[in-house]
Symmetry: C2
Subunit: 276 residues, 2 copies
């Protein structure tokens, strides 16, 4: 029999899942529900300020599994790349300030007007390399998150765990990966790449792939409502030694974002204990 209390202790709520909530509401909602981890996006941290956010989270005794998100490195010119690097340094500061265990980064896509995918890959590598010393000094591990290939053009041109692992191999200490079931579940190479990632898996996210999927970005499912073998994927991730939280992160404009966030939280807890 599964140890449900242990299960619940590993649930973390990503702020994107309860989008209408402020950081304060997220912290209080998790406390009320016995949830021990959160994964905030930068907007709700910035809205209250880093210091206050940090105090609020520490007072509630919550683990911050990761801060979402930095990255978006490729740009059309040097000024754009510098601006991205500056913004990513601020994201590192925010992550350090709230005690986040990692900063999630997505690669960014093709610069406007560009069709040079290999060039964008290089810009991502160079951007990560430029950010890494700053993140190491701040004690914030960087988690590059491969996004589903349908985001390659406009959001992230690192689309497989293999590519993310290659970047970790190249860049070394302080670089890890974020594994999100939604983005990687389809990959026939996944078992091998999860094993290869090993201790570099810094954070593990779940939602579900709905059939049909009505929108490329905002139609993700509650765990259990789609086709991803989440228990199988979790077994693979935990077989590497990963024993951190499991973040539920759902973008869902037409369904979950329209519901009362407390109710969404209740269903996350239930699904976490039964199907994740």
């Amino acid at each position: 029999m599964r140890d449900l209390s242990r299960d619940k202790s590993l649930l973390a709520i990503n702020s994107a899942t309860v989008k209408p909530w402020t950081l304060e509401q997220l912290v209080e909602g998790c406390a009320r529900s016995g949830i021990t981890g959160i994964a905030p996006w930068r907007d709700i941290v910035q809205a209250v300020g880093i210091e206050k956010a940090g105090r609020m989270i520490r007072a509630a005794g919550l683990t911050v599994t990761c801060l979402c998100r930095g990255g978006m490195f490729p740009a059309a010119d040097a000024a754009g790349r510098r601006a991205a690097l500056d913004d990513n340094r601020r994201a590192v500061d925010e992550a350090a300030g709230i005690g986040a265990r990692s900063l999630v980064l997505i690669a960014g896509g093709l610069p406007k007007g560009s069709k040079d995918l290999a060039g964008a890959h290089e810009q991502v590598r160079d951007g990560l390399a430029a950010l890494l010393p700053y993140a190491r000094d701040a004690g914030v591990p960087l988690a590059i998150e491969p996004l589903h290939p349908m985001y390659a053009a406009d959001r992230a041109c690192v689309n497989t765990l293999a590519h993310a692992n290659d970047l970790c191999d190249e860049l070394g200490e302080g670089m890890g990966v974020a594994v999100d079931a939604y983005h990687v579940w389809w990959d026939p190479d996944l078992p091998r790449q999860i094993e290869r990632a090993g201790s570099r898996i810094l954070t593990y996210h779940v939602c579900d792939w709905l059939v049909p999927t009505r929108d490329l970005l905002l139609d993700r499912g509650m765990p259990g409502d789609g086709v991803i073998d989440l228990p199988g994927l979790r077994r693979m991730v935990e077989a590497t030694g990963y024993d951190g939280h499991i973040d539920v992160e759902i973008f869902s404009a037409e369904n979950w974002w329209k519901r009362e966030p407390g109710e969404v939280l209740r269903i996350c807890v239930e699904r976490h204990q039964t199907v994740v």
Copy 2:
């Protein structure tokens, strides 16, 4: 300077691009425009019957680059798998009857209610293996077409050229691949996998990835309107020795399917000569 007349001689029109047209209209439209190749879907061939379709195509002197499409192997039970195999044998007959240079196959997705991706992969391999002797006897090469990973659940669970190449390695003579720019452009492993595919590339399809993409299935772009480096991809494909037609295949419910097909054809010719 590019040899435009040569270019035009390598353009083929996929019937999905001019969806309102019958086979007769497609054949006449291509003849009028000096287009030498077509890639019909099965529906328009079946509508006139294989024999008549073959006569019509031969009389016009058109190359049939491929017949689209068979496949869809995974099913919830043995009866479903047998039905798929029967249908695929009919597709082989149709391809032979119209002199198609290959039969394009897409894998099929997860059977209804299943979350067993590895099991679906096995069913695809087994289905291909069962079909292959029949196709060899008929002299019809089978072209497994990796589809974009966003179709893994409901349409095709072979989503990388690496996976398609693995299937070719395993199944041998008579198995090849269809490379469609739309489905594979994002893959960082693509240059290596195209080289590996080599002479097993049986047909090459193009359209473009639009930003934004508003629908997972029916919002593909005319070559040149999106972000894919089509000349670069073509160079890679042709470097393998591929000297066949380039099929323009566009699913576009809200744009190209609403335009007059003759006009669509004219734009395909123009784009083929300038951006493909």
